[in-house]
């Protein structure tokens, strides 16, 4: 596990979701549909044209990947960035299947048209096509098998970016070289423009945005241990003000590395925007990046790209009350919300179900008690390995635990869940069992890598 990120799901939270879905579909389908407009090549048989068009289709889908991972705040907000990254993975797999189909159909039915693979005798555009498919295959292999192949996350990420650029550039040149359906200059221009926009997105994400972040460094002002293996880092901007953010949002954090180094990781704010002056992240020692998080010293530089995300109470102003369900360090964004709600003198009823393996790992114990005094907050600790004298809940935050502590009108409340994936799944199943409407469930998970 490499971070404590925080994708959020809240698909109903913004009406712009369908509009962004339409934009995404248009980005894939319109470049294909234009192949039919105006002058078309003579048909070479259904299978022949189908095989060729699959290549265009796969490339259009791969190109959209650059937009999906460009962290456009407005485009990702209605869905949650974790859903976007899951989608990025599945869409890439689907696109790769189409590209593989493109290659295999041609090799199977038209091997003579494919010709020799040897780059010394094959035309350049065909060699580029082979390089592209090999690079796409390498992306799939290293992404699906990163952990078994023991590729360290940061190294994988750099490799991923390089392979993606190589694959798409070669594929675009392959299409331009073969150009079967792009004889009309305007079609060629459109596809060239499309390819250029994908590359510009990569330039924006990998060069321009890091350059902007370099100009706005932050400094670590405090590092404190919250509980066993969990640390809170407090940061202040070197120049100017802290950006506005909502409790529950997250940012990409670079520590001991330049923003260009692709060593940034997403973490939720545990601080509240109602307490200006600094931002805080509570981070658990879990993976390659976080293992030594406690060794960060005050005074060190940091780079913060944010805020992002739509997970939080501010998205649901009409909720009758909130139920927070946290697992381990998943408490971080919920602390941000609880602190904000306390500072805003929130009157609505609140519940916090906080699951941990043992009592030593329960972060913010004292502060949560204080918050319970100031808010209408019911706190339920659930321990997996409780001490012998434990009187509270044990096991997991499941339907039985929820039922024991929630009021009869629990169906009207909104539920915000943050924790590792198994915990989220259990919470989702439990809330479904209780009949809580799906639109009132908002969750955030760790480790989407």
């Amino acid at each position: 596990m490499w971070n404590q990120f925080l994708g959020e799901r809240s698909i109903d939270s913004r009406g712009s979701g369908p509009a962004w879905l339409a934009v995404y579909l248009a980005l894939i389908l319109v470049p294909l549909a234009v192949l039919l407009v105006g002058e078309r090549p003579r048909g070479g048989g259904f299978l022949w044209d189908f095989a060729l068009i699959l290549g265009y289709a796969g490339l259009a889908m791969m190109g959209v990947q650059f937009a999906l991972t460009a962290r456009f705040k407005h485009a990702t907000a209605p869905f949650g960035i974790d859903l976007i990254y899951y989608f990025h993975r599945f869409l890439a797999a689907a696109a790769f299947v189409l590209l593989l189909l493109h290659v295999l159909l041609l090799l199977w039915k038209y091997p003579d048209a494919v010709g020799k693979v040897d780059p010394r005798s094959a035309p350049g555009y065909m060699t580029l096509g082979w390089i592209a498919i090999l690079a796409f295959a390498a992306i799939m292999l290293t992404s699906l098998m990163r952990k078994p192949l023991r590729i360290e996350y940061d190294r994988w990420r750099r490799l991923h970016v390089l392979l993606a650029l190589l694959a798409v550039i070669c594929a675009v040149l392959h299409v331009q070289g073969s150009g079967t359906y792009l004889e009309a200059p305007w079609k060629r221009l459109l596809w060239s423009g499309l390819a250029l926009s994908w590359l510009l997105l990569a330039v924006w994400v990998r060069l321009i945005r890091p350059a902007l972040l370099m100009r706005q460094p932050w400094r670590v002002v405090d590092v404190r241990q919250e509980c066993e293996r969990s640390w809170t880092l407090s940061l202040q901007p070197e120049h100017g003000e802290i950006f506005a953010y909502h409790p529950g949002q997250f940012a990409w954090l670079s520590l001991r590395a330049s923003p260009f180094a692709l060593r940034e990781h997403p973490f939720s704010f545990s601080s509240s925007p109602t307490r200006p002056g600094n931002i805080e992240f509570t981070i658990k020692e879990l993976g390659d990046f976080t293992r030594n998080i406690g060794q960060i010293k005050p005074g060190e530089l940091a780079y913060v790209d944010g805020p992002y995300g739509a997970f939080g109470v501010d998205r649901h102003p009409r909720a009758e009350g909130f139920v927070f369900i946290a697992g381990g360090v998943g408490i971080a964004p919920l602390m941000s919300m609880l602190r904000a709600l306390a500072d805003r003198a929130e009157q609505r009823p609140l519940w916090l179900f906080y699951g941990n393996r043992d009592w030593r790992r329960v972060a913010f114990r004292e502060e949560i008690e204080q918050l319970a005094d100031n808010l209408s907050l019911t706190v339920v600790h659930v321990l997996g390995e409780p001490p012998a004298d434990w009187q509270g809940e044990t096991g997991y935050v499941d339907a039985a635990v929820l039922r024991r502590h929630l009021p009869a009108e629990y169906g009207a409340l909104h539920y915000l869940v943050c924790g590792p994936e198994p915990m989220i799944r259990l919470a989702e199943r439990s809330l479904a069992e209780l009949g809580v409407p799906l639109k009132q469930l908002h969750s955030e998970t760790f480790d989407i890598a």
């Binding site: 799901r9 698909i11 070479g44 048989g45 259009a60 599945f90 189409l98 003579d112 010709g115």
Partner: protein, 136 residues
Amino acid sequence: MRERWARALAIATGVMVLLLSAAIAAVINTPSDEPAAAVVAVASEPDPLQITKGQAVYDENGCARCHSVAGKGSPRSPLDGVGSRLSRAETHDWVTGAESVQEELSPRAVNAKQRYTKLVEEQMAALLDYLGSLKE
């Protein structure tokens, strides 16, 4: 849950794109009303050795990337029967992308055919013999 949504949306996209690709291929292959090319008279049978040599020139130059013979190669521009449809001089013009045929060729095809202008006379003769042997 989110993972399932993402997977469902990706699969739906893949299926939609697959269907659109099939639809485009089907539209492109809708039969047209273009009249069949006229068949021209052919003078004499070329030497079988020349035909073999010509086939080798055809293979070496990767003609099958854009053309097919007996179902082998790109089916977009089949050359089956070209020996019955075109005279030797016309075939030469098509092979080299001469000005007289450029209007009917895409710029990409004209460009691709430039390599054939560099064939030595003997290779060109063999290639034309081979193409001439492809009768209806």
